[in-house]
């Protein structure tokens, strides 16, 4: 154990002097080394949300569909038919920066445990990834490691990775983002909670042994990165998906048999956080006898046992007479299940070693008394400056056919097949819409319903206008769900930002979460949980702010699902929503200038909400042949994507007051490209009118070529050749 610095003992636990004073006041005495270490991790940003809690309170968290809001291992929404869906997203950015394979793998493993801790069987994962410039060797190495890590864990445990998104930008060069979302199914009347109720109940530690991996990972996550980071490899956990598969099956078996009072996964800050949180939630106390914990190495100190982030472990609270039954089930799966403690009535989180008390702290001090900081905010100068940009580059470029080819082959818009084909996205036999569309769609057992899933955020938009970017992230997620015909139900998030102690970063955080909250409220998609990841900086430079949204939606009748692919020659092509002269923050402008600038697109949340309802009803009535959200790359890219998904071209020709550059590549929000049978046109237009949606007739599906004409300016290319450029780009760009 390291020697304490006697003058400033708080420093090595990443606590400030003021925080230490607060601890002294609360405790009424000098805490010992171990106690101070417990405060250090529980009061870290990663566990305690001290810089974000005040802001997170602004999120709407309730609604008739919400069975469990924030505060538990995961949120839960009602799907009807007696089914519910547990879902949550979490970041594993810093570990992935240091050790991409294990960092990403354990990110997936951790979020899967959160889901089965709710009593749900995990049925799908999604990932939102951010990397630097793909031309850098380091970026390609990180991408390869992260993708292998996600696949290595998900493929082995047998949970399909059904969707995700990737964005490349130099701001993520030294600090990639790895956000993993997991979704599980449970019966709506069987939601389990992580609470240590019942005086005299037994606390059991189950799953893997405790070792030295990931010691103080939570504190590590709350620091900035620098070039000294290879030294931090011991902070990165090591995943064992096979062990987790056994733990998953054993846990669901004991829950089915009704043997458990409460359960909690061991994630960040390991036994410290799970024990203190279980005690804190119930108001009871917990006493742990550390000599009982099964250790991988016999000489672990109490401090190491408490802070180890060894993976694939869970903490259970069990009635004494059920301990033997639990041991039997875990034994069948060749897993350990050891009684390590007791639920008490003194409200304390107490640690003992061979009978001697070595730490005792009222649990609420660790979980409820976390200091809350309202940081200073300052609008960065770039915010106003970058809005005043010259956005003529796209229209000046002239050759729009060439620009479409370039966009489709660019790192941010090219096909993701190179990535998702390394993930088993079919295991479980539920994946009805596979990766590559707007949202994944799963079927549900013994039900006609479908479950739509997506993850989204546009880091560039959020950087240029954090408030509007926060709004747009929710809008895009909702539309991605809605284009399948599903109703957006609720969202989880991963809020990735730089150092909150920097007023300009904190301003980004406040604005982005304000925007997110407003959009979530307007679209009736409450926030059921999430995760905050600050200190995403490398050598002092912050990432582009990225509030990733994970959204779930429910489709009434799976037979009525809609996909992005064009279906039949002769079908009419329409655009829903309003196009504007909006080339600001666009991929096309960035591709040509390498500059992030311009005003981000406007959006009318009432129109988006009505558009979602329209899509849901149009799908139910069978009016749509295809539907595709129009986002990065603009309308031309959306048209090309629907064409490439079906190998069917089309002839499109329309006029408007916009420049052709903006008409093709502007990224106006709240727009959806649809196709329909001519027979359905009258009903389609009537329904669009009911929901107050602007419609523009663009053309018809058919032929091997795509011909897109706006005000006599034409893009023309064979679909097969566009598809070749789009499909093969990432494998070439990412080759090591």
């Amino acid at each position: 154990m390291a020697e304490s610095n006697l003058a400033q003992p708080f420093k090595e636990h990443n606590l400030t002097e003021a925080e230490y004073q607060k601890i002294l006041t609360l405790m009424g005495r000098e805490p010992n080394y171990l106690e101070l270490a417990l405060f250090g991790v529980m009061w870290s940003e990663h566990c305690g949300y001290k810089n974000s809690k005040a802001q997170l309170k602004k999120f709407p968290t309730t609604g008739p569909q919400v069975l469990q809001g924030p505060g538990e291992n995961a949120g839960v929404v009602d799907l009807g038919d007696g089914l519910a869906c547990a879902f949550k997203m979490e970041s594993h950015n810093h570990p992935s920066a240091i050790e991409p394979f294990q960092g990403a793998a354990t990110g997936v493993g951790g979020i899967i445990r959160d889901i089965f801790a709710m009593g749900a069987r995990p049925i799908a994962s999604l990932d939102s990834l951010r990397f630097g410039d793909l031309s850098q060797t380091k970026t390609r190495h990180l991408l390869d490691g992260v993708v292998d890590g996600i696949g290595g864990y998900g493929n082995c445990i047998g949970i399909p990775t059904v969707g995700g998104e990737i964005f490349f930008h130099p701001s993520f060069q030294g600090n990639p983002l790895v956000n993993a979302m997991c979704v599980g199914l449970l019966k709506s009347d069987r939601v389990f909670k992580g609470s240590a109720v019942g005086l005299g109940n037994i606390v059991m530690l189950v799953g893997a042994q405790t070792g030295r991996d990931g010691i103080k990972g939570a504190s590590f996550a709350s620091e900035e990165l620098s070039d000294q980071d290879p030294d931090k490899r011991p902070n990165v956990q090591v995943g064992d998906p096979f062990m987790e598969k056994l733990l998953l099956e054993a846990t669901l078996e004991i829950l089915d048999a009704d043997l458990v009072v409460g359960l909690q996964d061991l994630g960040a800050a390991g036994l410290t956080s799970s024990g203190a949180e279980m005690a804190g939630r119930s108001g009871n106390g917990i006493t742990l006898n550390l000599e009982k914990a099964p250790l991988r190495e016999p000489d672990l100190t109490p401090w190491e046992i408490m802070l180890s982030e060894s993976q694939e472990r869970m903490l259970l609270v069990v009635e004494p007479e059920k301990v033997a039954a639990i041991e039997r089930i875990f034994d069948k799966w060749d897993l350990l299940a050891v009684a390590v403690g007791l639920v008490t009535d003194d409200g304390h989180f107490t640690l003992k070693l061979r009978g001697e008390v070595i730490a005792t702290i009222p649990a609420a001090y660790l979980t409820e008394e976390v200091p809350i900081y309202l940081r200073e905010q300052k609008e960065p100068a770039y915010h106003a400056e970058r809005k005043k940009a010259d956005l003529a580059a796209v229209n000046q470029y002239g050759d729009f056919t060439d620009l479409l080819y370039k966009l489709l082959a660019s790192p941010n818009l090219c096909s993701r097949a190179y990535v998702y084909e390394r993930y088993d996205h079919m295991v479980g036999l539920n994946t009805v819409i596979r990766p590559g569309g707007d949202a994944a769609l799963l079927r549900l057992p013994d039900s006609k319903k479908g479950l739509a899933l997506t993850v989204d955020a546009d880091s560039r938009q959020v950087f240029l206008d954090p408030y509007q970017g926060g709004v747009l992230a929710v809008v895009e997620a909702a539309l991605n769900v809605a284009v399948t015909g599903a109703r957006p139900l609720a969202l989880t998030n991963c809020l990735n930002f730089g150092n909150p102690e920097d007023p300009e970063i904190y301003w980004q955080f406040v604005k982005a979460t304000d925007g997110l909250a407003e959009a979530a409220r307007a679209l009736e998609t409450p926030v059921t949980g999430g995760n905050v990841s600050f200190y995403n900086e490398h050598n002092g430079a912050a990432i582009y702010p990225t509030p990733t949204i994970g959204m779930v939606g429910s489709l009434e009748d799976l037979e009525r699902r809609v996909t992005i692919a064009f279906k039949e020659p002769g079908d009419l092509i329409y655009l829903l929503g309003q196009s504007r002269e909006e080339l600001g923050a666009s991929e096309a402008h960035y591709l040509l200038t390498k500059r992030d600038e311009g005003p981000v697109p406007q959006v009318d949340l009432n129109q988006v909400k009505a558009l979602c309802r329209f899509l849901e009803q149009a799908a139910q009535k069978g009016l749509l042949r295809s539907a595709h959200d129009c986002s990065a790359g603009g309308l031309a890219v959306a048209i090309a994507e629907s064409a490439m998904a079906s190998d069917l071209g089309g002839v499109l020709n329309w006029r408007s007051s916009l420049s052709s550059g903006a008409a093709f590549f502007g990224e106006s929000a709240g727009r959806v490209l649809v196709t329909l049978k001519e027979d359905h046109l009258t009903s389609f237009l009537a329904l669009a009118k009911t929901w107050n949606q602007t419609t523009t007739e663009l053309g018809r599906v058919g032929g091997p070529d795509l011909s897109i004409t706006h005000n006599e300016v034409t893009i023309k290319a064979p679909v097969a050749s566009l598809k070749k450029a789009w499909r093969e780009a990432l494998a070439d760009l990412a080759a090591i």
């Binding site: 292998d148 696949g151 290595g152 493929n155 082995c156 445990i157 047998g158 064992d240 998906p241 096979f242 062990m243 598969k245 056994l246 799966w333 060749d334 097949a417 998702y420 084909e421 390394r422 993930y423 088993d424 996205h425 079919m426 295991v427 479980g428 036999l429 994946t431 009805v432 596979r434 079927r443 799976l558």
Partner: protein, 232 residues
């Protein structure tokens, strides 16, 4: 008529196989834990996909020592149908119930995608409802699926018409590039000499219901069911 799906620790397609068998034939399979050392006389035993024992060593290298494998061997001798899919195929090779071995994919990366298979023989209880040279679309999902076998065994496989499927291009052409995993002679599935054991890397259970995007896997289950005496 009785069917079983063996569950190894780390199997993850066990439920999928049972579900597809039921969806295509109505037959409800028992899920049998790998530690069982005495099985009833099942007419069909499926070894499912997954990562038995984590497959941190060579795939299937530990699973072959599971107690249930002795029973699988006994049932195979008895003439029961044994179907090994993906990890199940790897285990059957490790257990030497089928010849050959499965190596890391050619590009060393896991691959999950639909592929095209050419039916090489309809002379087996698994392939009797396909036509020879028929082209199927079936998904693969594996990191170690490159089939390899020594020249003598390969010749035997060919002489005895025991190559069940080959990876093909969409137009049916089989060549050096048609196997995405680099399999020898694009071999995707093989039979034993008695033709009652089939091992294949692709997952027929994943495309056996229309809402999953295809039904080319369905006739395999229907053929098995018919061979067991069920009405096809």
């Amino acid at each position: 008529m009785k069917a079983a799906v063996i569950v190894f620790p780390g199997s993850n397609c066990d439920q999928d196989c049972a579900r597809s068998l039921k969806a295509t034939t109505g037959l409800k399979a028992d899920l049998v834990w790998h530690k069982e050392s005495s099985l009833p006389d099942y007419d069909l035993v499926i070894l499912p996909g997954g990562f038995a024992h984590g497959d941190y060593l060579r795939c299937g290298a530990i699973a072959r020592f599971s107690p249930v494998l002795a029973e699988v061997r006994r049932l195979a001798q008895r003439g029961s149908l044994i179907l090994g899919i993906c990890n199940g195929f790897q285990i059957l090779c490790e257990a030497q119930l089928l010849p050959g071995a499965l190596l890391r994919n050619r590009k060393l990366k896991y691959l999950c995608q639909d592929v095209f298979l050419r039916v090489e023989t309809e002379r087996s209880p698994f392939t009797s409802l396909y036509q020879k040279a028929q082209i199927l679309r079936i998904p693969i999902s594996h990191g170690e699926g490159g089939y390899s076998v020594n020249p003598k065994e390969l010749q035997k496989l060919k002489d005895q018409d025991r190559v069940a499927f080959r990876y093909a291009h969409a137009d049916g052409l089989v060549d050096d590039t048609s196997a995405p995993n680099g399999s020898l002679e694009a071999i995707a599935g093989v039979l034993n000499e008695k033709r009652n054991i089939l091992g294949l890397m692709p997952h027929p259970e994943r495309l056996a219901e229309p809402e999953l995007g295809g039904v080319d896997g369905r006739p395999l289950f229907e053929a098995v069911f018919a061979a067991m005496g069920g009405a096809a």
